[in-house]
């Protein structure tokens, strides 16, 4: 118990090997690669060392478009998903019957392959035969070219993403709601607090840590969006690259254009963004612990 021995490392060995080979080494390697001009992963050759890749990156209008799209995506998906999830979670929590049923239903998207269900959404967004345009037609709205017109590509992607991301948030909020003591609600009832006030003054503040957590996790996830784009636009980034995201940009540079250095530089930028988000999360949860 008191004696330290290196025996612990025998238990850790498999994890450490995997971590070094497939997490730490590639991290360092990606940073190094981002400074190698015209790098080729086939034979390891490169033409220059320096900031060429970063210069290329920041000269590329597509990269800025990907940054812009990703930001729009984050700003639309995360708050919308959080608000809707909060509403649904509170309503589910208030249900006496069917609680388990609703919980099961609403969590379904979380376990589903994005690729497969994205294909289904693609079919539902179909401008001629899609279910969505049909439903809109019932309200007299003209068919929308969801997947074929650049201006509708992002909205389609965002609708799909909100559908997909709500499951996790609802689950976290439901778990959080269950930790609020019933007595607080009883007290509020005796004080004849209106329902809406109970929601804004008791429920939401009690859930604040979960809301912050879900927001940060949601933002980190949203910055890394890729599979949703790939499946909704059948491997493309929407018409005329209108729905290109950072990760899509990186993979495109890497897998289709063979610009490994530029892809690595893009991934370093992504890493820095994620790191900043994580710092915010740590700061916020740290505050919570202090209080």
């Amino acid at each position: 118990m008191e004696k330290k021995s290196f025996k612990g490392y025998i238990y850790l060995l498999p994890s450490i090997i995997i971590m070094i080979c497939f997490t730490l080494y590639p991290l360092v390697r990606a940073i190094v690669m981002s400074f190698l001009g015209d790098y080729s992963i086939i034979n390891g050759s490169y033409k220059s060392i320096g900031f060429d890749n970063y210069k290329d990156l920041f000269k590329d209008p597509d990269f800025f478009k990907s940054l812009r799209n990703t930001s729009i995506y984050v700003i639309c998906v995360v708050p919308a998903s959080i608000c809707l999830s909060l509403l649904i979670a509170v309503l589910i929590n208030n249900c006496k019957k069917f609680k388990a049923f609703f919980q099961t239903v609403y969590f379904l998207p979380y376990v589903t392959s994005v690729i497969a269900i994205g294909i289904v959404w693609r079919w539902m967004f179909n401008s001629n035969y899609g279910l969505i345009n049909y439903a809109l037609g019932l309200f007299g709205i003209e068919p929308i070219q969801w997947l074929n017109r650049p201006e509708y590509a992002m909205p389609a992607l965002i609708i799909f993403a909100i559908w997909k991301s709500m499951a996790f948030n609802i689950l976290i909020f439901l778990a959080g709601l269950q930790t609020i003591p019933e007595d607080i609600y009883r007290a509020a009832r005796i004080d004849s607090t209106p329902r809406f006030r109970v929601f804004t003054r008791i429920t939401v503040p009690s859930l604040a840590p979960m809301i912050v957590y879900s927001s940060v996790i949601g933002m980190i996830g949203a910055f890394k969006v890729y599979n949703e784009v790939f499946s909704l636009f059948q491997g493309k980034a929407g018409p005329a690259n209108s729905a290109i995201t950072i990760v899509y940009y990186i993979y495109d540079k890497f897998y289709n254009s063979y610009k490994y250095g530029v892809a690595a530089a893009g991934s370093v930028v992504l890493f820095l963004i994620i790191l900043a988000m994580t710092q915010i999360q740590l700061r916020v949860t740290g505050e919570k612990k202090k209080n």
């Binding site: 995997i18 497969a116 890394k224 991934s267």
Partner: protein, 279 residues
């Protein structure tokens, strides 16, 4: 006064269930639509107004889709990769979590912090260089390329360490007095006591392995090595406008996980919640 309250309560109740049911329909609609489309005839697919259910379910769509591409092979590949990855994850996770929660070794805190720090690295960033590693190892188009990089997860290690830490230390001391070695203690006491948590981790990993898309796409070239999600995307391109077949193929990818989910819901929800509330 009381009638007014009654009315408010009724309206609130109707509104509550109304929203919940509407949301539930919105949530399950893609699944329903997928299944229904997969059983329709091409004419029914493009009919206006669209019907919710096909007049005669076209079960042969599945047969046609199954035969149109080597889905059986994809299925086996996915199963192999999923099971091997999950077994690997369980072994490394249990070993590491035990080391972090019970054993005392120099640099323990540093190593644990390092494991946690890796959670901040976006996997998307590592894919490029890991791809290079796989090429250098000449592992392209092999099962191990799809399995080995994923058999250890800092997140699951963190999760299980927290479960293991809840086991009172006196149990460990008691086992020690009872002449029980560390390894035996791990196998006989820690693992059975936390079997639910370990089971949750296993299911979560099965789901993520099954749904994995980009990595298997990158490291495989040949049709024989493809997994379901890659095969589905390829089939989508090949089948072109045969939407009913594409939907049937999508069902084949989605349904096994949904069935697992419906049966083992408790463990999945428990695992995600525990992992989610780590803050």
């Amino acid at each position: 006064m009381t009638t007014k309250r009654k009315v408010i309560n009724t309206v609130a109740g109707v509104l509550k269930y109304g929203i919940l049911i509407f949301g539930a329909i919105f949530t399950v609609l893609p699944f329903v639509w997928m299944i229904s489309s997969s059983l329709k005839t091409p004419a029914e697919l493009v009919a206006a107004p669209p019907s919710l259910f096909p007049e005669v379910p076209q079960w042969e769509n599945y047969k046609t889709a199954w035969a149109a591409a080597p889905f059986a092979r994809y299925f086996v590949n996915t199963l192999i990769v999923t099971l091997c990855t999950t077994c690997g994850v369980l072994v490394t996770t249990v070993l590491s979590a035990f080391a972090f929660s019970r054993l005392n070794f120099p640099g323990k805190k540093t190593v644990f912090a390092l494991f946690l720090a890796t959670l901040m690295i976006p996997g998307e960033m590592l894919i490029i260089t890991n791809y290079e590693t796989i090429i250098n190892l000449k592992w392209i188009d092999s099962y191990k390329a799809m399995i080995v990089p994923w058999i250890s997860s800092a997140f699951y290690i963190y999760l299980l360490t927290r479960f293991f830490m809840q086991v009172p230390e006196s149990l460990y001391l008691a086992a020690k007095v009872d002449k029980c070695s560390d390894f035996k203690y791990m196998i006989k006491i820690m693992v059975p006591m936390n079997k639910q948590a370990i089971f949750s981790i296993a299911i979560l990993n099965i789901i993520s392995s099954w749904n994995a898309f980009l990595w298997p796409l990158l490291v495989t070239n040949s049709q024989e090595m493809r997994v379901l999600s890659n095969g589905l995307v390829r089939f989508q391109t090949e089948a072109g406008s045969s939407t009913e077949l594409i939907m049937a193929a999508s069902c084949m990818l989605v349904m096994p996980i949904i069935i697992i989910y419906l049966f083992l819901r408790k463990y999945i929800i428990e695992g995600v919640t525990r992992g989610g509330l780590k803050g």
